[in-house]
Subunit: 428 residues, 2 copies
């Protein structure tokens, strides 16, 4: 096999569910991103069901038009899964039983206290002449199947099985074949709209021809993806981005929270750890989402001590000491109650910082004065507190997610300020 | 052209951006849904860039394997858009200039106060022998291009242009050709592995030829998608599923939590509401995810009163009254502490039911006796309590999501039992 910039690459996603209106292939996006990093681009993507005839047609087509063919999915134990069988017969190769694979599958079941059902037997068969790609997160092994100068790479469909298998067994081979260098940066921002960013960045255009900038907008988060290409060296590609990075940083400042791919909760967590500050949260309309995001970060127990989901009015009294007459006078969704919740959780938990959210996630519960999407985020620290009022658009899910995002960002900006002040007081 | 159940249908999405890691074709989902309604299924989806060679290969392949071929995108005025030109040359047909199309494009620009740029000229060329599909929301017309017994249907890429064109000019032809009716059901299950389900369902195979069953596995959730076809009537298709539905219900029983598309938190919420029971939760390793899922359901404030994210050991004492010596003796991740957390949150909140989760989400914190993935789920109600021990596989995110899923399911099964007992005590 010779891999290169001119190899034609095809990704075939197999699964009848991918031909319904309900599911999309996402595995190919992941593989595309990784191959792009070594300067390889995808030529074709094909989606086909678990149907012998259609699969046969697709495999034959890919053999004619492509050099490197990823085939993802249809390796499961059930009757409809037939990728392995159809590919073997298309290539005119036999399926061979491998005792060592069966042992691993059996072990996997035993570790969970189950006996392996007999249907899983078929997953222990591989296509002759292929290399086994170990599956550490599922039962179906992958296969690397050379065919003349071409190669088929068979991977399991579940992303949590596919990705580690790709990283461990497939990626190193592509990395070794690299003929092309790519530098990439992702700047994640929050607090600005897409058009505001466009305006702030107007001076950086036109970009050099070997650099590409793509803007991706999510609710509460806008990402700037920069890619530079060089045929000479990684350093060359990287250098092209350096100047542009500085320009971006100057234009967007603290609105950029990450240039390394980190999520907002990871960035905020790191700031908390460095400041040796602990955090407790009080959530109303987000119902636990804020705590969930904070605790998605491994090691978050170092700075996150506790939270409460104070959903009912009574629980705001009981868990946070929010005065009943304050709720009565101002309403549960108000600047005053948000502040009282942040103060309450901080005092009761003994944490350094208290962070609170109260709002109307909808679809009901809104009024002309307090519409659906009205959300107050409160922050309380030693010697101060602050509350931000927000109006978020979208459905319940979007309002919850933008609220949690805003709370994390409010905390992040507070910690940045705190850091600067400390540096002023104690210059090193 | 003869359309029918056996027509092979292919959707080709054209656009180099669809071969990057950032964009997905969504037009095909829309077309799939509409065609499914008249009993037609998609056989192949192809994604290809705006590249002459690759486009030619795709069009030739589709002519060989498919009867009805949708080609979407690449009809714009810019240089990279070449779908129209490449398809004409693949089919050996000429491009013909149409004065009336040019007039419409010019008018469109004039209405907005602009003069038509000369690049738009090329959009006034159609493939000879084709029917024009009017574009009321953009400049590029669509084309209906017969080729022997087959047909190519050319549509613009922007969804707000594609959808109305499909509805006005394409859908009526398919509706008229309807030879066919479809019924559909989705059964969602939890508590069983994919292979266990396969084993339990072995008696229902072989299925009638006009019925198709697809299994989709997610961590902690397995879905069975059933589709039945009839050439006679919608009722006939529905009747075919009735018997199968009963069989599935018999084989899988309470492991099926929904046959209407509802999520587990919606089903559980409904059971709580009907039983007039309120709920409070105590989360350790899930950090708020359980409360987040419960409060994703509109109106959940009716039965969900509060929760605590008792992440640190101290907070388990402070917020839930878990005895310090119990944590010391058994460890924070133990059957005893899970029980004490469920009892604690129930008592302190005054809710009818307390639900707790404590476990090791990883990646660190595991030991040979208590590995990463060990999770206890506790439930406490009037007159009883219960704790389930689980070992979940996967990364931190997967362990958290399976834990929340398990807790919701434990609550669901409890409420089902409670419902049955009440029905026994108070037969209606």
């Amino acid at each position: 096999m010779k891999f290169g910039k001119n190899s034609k690459i095809e990704i075939i996603a197999v699964g009848s569910e991918l031909l319904t209106p309900y599911y999309q292939d996402t595995n190919s996006l992941y593989i595309t991103q990784r191959l792009n990093e070594v300067g390889m681009e995808i030529n074709f993507k094909t989606i086909v069901g678990d149907t012998q005839d259609d699969l046969t047609v697709c495999f034959n087509t890919s053999l004619e038009r492509s050099d490197i063919i990823f085939v993802i999915g249809g390796l499961g134990p059930t009757e409809d899964d037939c990728t392995r069988e159809v590919l073997a017969s298309t290539l005119g190769k036999k399926l061979v039983f491998k005792e060592e694979i069966l042992e691993k599958i059996k072990e996997r079941f035993e570790r969970r206290g189950f006996e392996m059902p007999s249907v899983n037997n078929k997953q222990a068969h591989i296509i002759e002449g292929s290399t086994i790609l170990e599956n550490k997160h599922g039962t179906a092994p992958g296969l690397w199947i050379p065919k003349g100068e071409k190669v088929f790479i068979l991977l399991p469909g579940p992303p949590h099985e596919m990705k580690p298998m790709f990283e461990n067994s497939v990626w190193p081979r592509f990395q070794a074949a690299r003929s092309h260098f790519v530098a990439r940066r992702v700047f994640k921002t929050t607090g600005l709209t897409e058009s505001k960013i466009e305006t702030l960045l107007s001076d950086i255009y036109p970009l050099p021809p070997s650099v590409k900038l793509t803007t991706l907008a999510y609710p509460g988060q806008i990402e700037l993806h920069l890619i530079a290409h060089s045929q000479k060296s990684a350093k060359k590609a990287d250098d092209m981005l350096l100047k542009l990075e500085q320009d971006l940083q100057e234009c967007l400042g603290e609105n950029i929270f990450s240039s390394s791919g980190d999520e907002l909760e990871e960035v905020t967590g790191r700031l908390l750890r460095r400041a040796k500050q602990t955090l407790a949260v009080a959530e109303s309309c987000t119902g636990g989402l804020l705590g969930h995001r904070i605790t998605n970060v491994p090691g978050s127990s170092e700075y996150f001590c506790q939270g409460v989901q104070a959903y009912s009015n009574e629980s705001k009294l009981q868990l946070l000491g929010v005065p009943a007459d304050l709720i009565h006078k101002c309403g549960a969704v108000s600047r005053e109650v948000a502040r009282s919740m942040a103060i309450g959780i901080r005092e009761r938990s003994g944490a350094d910082i208290g962070l609170s959210i109260t709002g109307i996630a909808g679809p009901t519960g809104g009024s002309p004065e307090k519409p659906v999407g009205l959300v107050y985020v409160g922050l309380c620290w030693e010697g101060g507190d602050n509350v931000l009022k927000n109006i978020f658009l979208g459905n319940r899910e979007l309002i919850k997610s933008q609220s949690a995002q805003k709370a994390l960002d409010m905390l992040r900006r507070h910690l940045l300020k705190y850091k600067k002040e400390r540096q002023k007081d104690h210059p090193s």
